[in-house]
């Protein structure tokens, strides 16, 4: 218990110590200033823009920025779909794996292009090395870069004055990959290999166990994908069980590195924001709101996992270690709980333990983390522009309370921005509640649920929360491979991504055009504790009110039943 608290604290210190300078570095990168890596990368960058044509560097109006983003994502989707369907004809397929079915390839391609990385398949039994590398690893980079680019553009909208342009998508995307994602991935991948993550194009390793049985050990070019899967909050594992697999996450050091990478860029965005709007306190305030919500969630998950399964209390079992079903010994309840909180708060979705076997109240927090839109740090970029949406709503509510036109960073927040913010927010309840309800009544869909009782509903709810929130983790008892779900979830993922991004870019566009007014005595300060608390309350109330009824029927009902000693 004491040692777990200490490792949580050390983790937080390491994270902030790295995210703070990274935020400053990223701000310089996106403002086009010279950085440490410029001597090497600037020529590469110029070469890329030359190949991309003259439209690739000019300032873009928000509509054009959004169009570039959509066209690039569509092209990426087409390419990935083709690779998955044709993998049997492509090289680097030592296990001779067959092509993916059309509905599964649709789902997987959408999943990786939208930075969801929901996996309705098991990597080691389904995908060739070519598909893993050229198809998925590549999308791990560019889908993350898309999120970063959009967030930077939205921040520019808040920071700019009387501007038509919110930046250039191609430049932002290229810089994200070259200056941020690639260098950190290279470092991370090498450390992971040192720790025991395979990186080879060789075939699976046949072994004869000590008791004489045959064991075929899956491997492949894993480390390169795992580094970027964490850094880009993608989360799609190389192996079926993701980072609980002993070859995907073999040691404490590999686990620590991956945990830091999950939240590194999302946390850095707070500090990047402070730099770009030239008021660091604003970034720190948002970081504080995210941090406090994070700690509350972690405390609930850790507490209920450490308590263990009360249905075992009467059995001859020593539960000091907590609930160990679906957890690895080397991580225990502490590091599993920390990871579960981090991966659902950020829209990462990688797991180092099986969320489906978590205690009901833990599952409740995991669900809520995703349902509030993954704004507690959130996905790379995505979490930050998501939180800015809540900031817009918060200053709007504060404005209503005191009867003044709401302002943020000197920009008047008017009806148009609030309407756009609500429009973006609506993608979550539609994807989760409407699609989830469809899945809960369609006869073919219900067959996919493994666990009877209220937990079955939780599995459906989790699947659609994860898809719409672009998280990608699962209550894995859910049979995601059914064509009904692969298709509907593909749609949910697109909804959660693009129906959120486009209104946010529109907000950025309208704000960019405004002239900031100087702060007056009546201006509501957005860097103090009052604002932090208000922002947290708005996040919880909007999330809570929207999803509470569904949660009451799922995890809460399961918890109450468990208290009564009931099994299903």
């Amino acid at each position: 218990m004491a040692s777990d608290s200490l490792q949580f604290l050390l983790y937080a210190i390491i994270l902030v110590a790295l995210a703070w300078p990274l935020g400053g570095y990223m701000a310089r990168v996106f403002q086009g200033e010279r950085t440490l890596l410029s001597p090497v990368l600037a020529p590469v960058e110029r070469g890329i823009y030359a190949a991309a044509g003259k439209g690739a560097t000019q300032g873009q109006h928000w509509t054009r920025y959004a169009l570039s983003m959509l066209v690039f994502n569509l092209a990426g989707w087409l390419l990935l779909y083709a690779i998955l369907r044709l993998q049997h004809l492509l090289p680097w397929n030592p296990e001779g794996l067959a092509p993916m079915s059309p509905d599964l390839a649709f789902n997987t391609a959408v999943s990786f292009v939208t930075n969801t990385n929901w996996q309705a398949y098991g990597g080691e039994t389904t995908l060739s090395y070519f598909s893993q590398m050229v198809g998925l690893t590549m999308q791990n980079f560019v889908s993350a870069a898309t999120g970063i680019a959009v967030a930077v553009a939205v921040i520019r909208g808040f920071a700019a004055r009387n501007a038509k342009s919110i930046g250039n998508f191609w430049v932002d995307m290229t810089r994200s990959v070259l200056y941020v994602l690639l260098p950190l991935s290279i470092v991370g991948a090498i450390v992971l290999i040192w720790q025991g993550v395979p990186q080879t194009l060789g075939a699976y390793v046949p072994a004869t166990t000590l008791e004489g049985a045959n064991q075929l050990i899956a491997q492949g070019p894993a480390a390169s994908q795992i580094a970027i899967k964490q850094l880009g909050t993608n989360g799609g594992g190389f192996f079926n069980v993701n980072s609980s697999h002993p070859l995907e996450n073999p040691t404490q050091l590999s686990n620590l590195l991956q945990l830091v990478y999950i939240l590194l860029i999302p946390a850095a965005f707070c500090f990047l924001f402070g730099h770009m709007v030239k008021d660091r306190r604003q970034g720190v305030a948002i970081f504080a709101a995210m941090g406090i919500l994070f700690v509350i969630g972690l405390a609930i998950i850790y507490g209920s996992e450490l308590r263990g399964n009360m249905l075992y209390d009467a059995l001859p079992i020593d539960q000091v270690a907590g609930n160990m079903e679906g957890k690895e010994v080397r991580f225990g309840a502490g590091l599993s709980a920390l990871w579960a909180e981090a991966t659902t708060a950020a829209s990462n979705g990688s797991v180092n333990s099986m969320h489906d076997s978590y205690m009901p109240l833990s599952g409740l927090v995991l669900l809520l983390n995703m349902q509030v839109g993954e704004v507690i740090f959130g996905g790379v970029g995505a979490g930050f522009y998501g939180m800015l949406l809540f900031v817009v709503l918060t200053v709007f509510l504060a404005g209503l309370m005191v009867g003044r036109t709401p302002e943020y960073l000197g920009k008047k927040i008017e009806a148009k921005e609030v309407k756009l913010a609500v429009l973006a927010f609506l993608s979550m309840p539609i994807g989760i509640l409407v699609f989830g309800a469809l899945a809960a009544v369609a006869p073919s869909a219900v067959a996919a649920v493994q666990d009877p009782g209220p937990h079955g509903l939780s599995e459906i709810l989790y699947a659609y929360s994860s898809a719409t929130g672009n998280n990608g983790s699962a209550f894995a008892g859910f049979g995601a491979g059914a064509p009904f779900h692969t298709t509907l979830q593909g749609v949910a993922m697109m909804l959660g991504r693009y129906a959120f991004i486009v209104p946010m870019l529109a907000i950025a566009g309208t704000l960019a055009a405004k002239t900031p007014a100087p702060a007056s005595a009546g201006t509501f300060p957005t860097h103090g504790p009052l604002f932090v608390v208000l922002l947290m309350i708005v996040v919880l109330i909007l999330g809570g009110l929207t999803f509470f009824p569904a949660l009451a029927l799922g995890p809460i009902a399961e918890h109450v039943a468990m208290l009564a000693g009931q099994t299903f």
Partner: protein
Amino acid sequence: MLSQTRPAIALLAIMTVLTGVAYPLAITGIGQALFPHQANAAPITRDGVVVGSEHIGQTFTRPEYFHGRPSAVDYDAASSGGTNFAPTNRELVDAVAERARRLAAETGVERIPVNLVTSSASGLDPHISPDSAYLQIKRVAEARSVPAEELRRIVNEHIEGPLLGVFGAPAVNVLKLNLALDERAPHPETKRD
């Protein structure tokens, strides 16, 4: 739309080559050069035969070996998986109860460590907790006709402590432990020359 096509295709092609081909291949080259053992799934070889991977658990059922945790995939390392049972699933609770009662009867220990009666996340967990290993010393010592203190010493040598004394839980790698047993306390019947 058309004006977007050229940069989209150009950047997609460049990024595919850069991040989908050059990056993983460069990392493969570096990994194979610097850490050839780890980069190839850390195989363990005994008498010229690959007997497993340092990181992957395997099935042990014989009394002379320490046993690992229950696995939802029977330690099939070509796939992986947990049970994904809900904590309130009757099938899970019954299975855990059955294992706990059997182990308690076998060992005479009142409370069985929870990791020994629950399935891991990966189904390939190479570890058990130290108390789960201590619990099995009596059985293994009898099967191998070696003193229990000797086994306890070997177990203690195989406890992998938390990183920097803080991160993670202490754990015993079952395969490495069993290999050490075969080396230092050979089973009378399987004694190798």
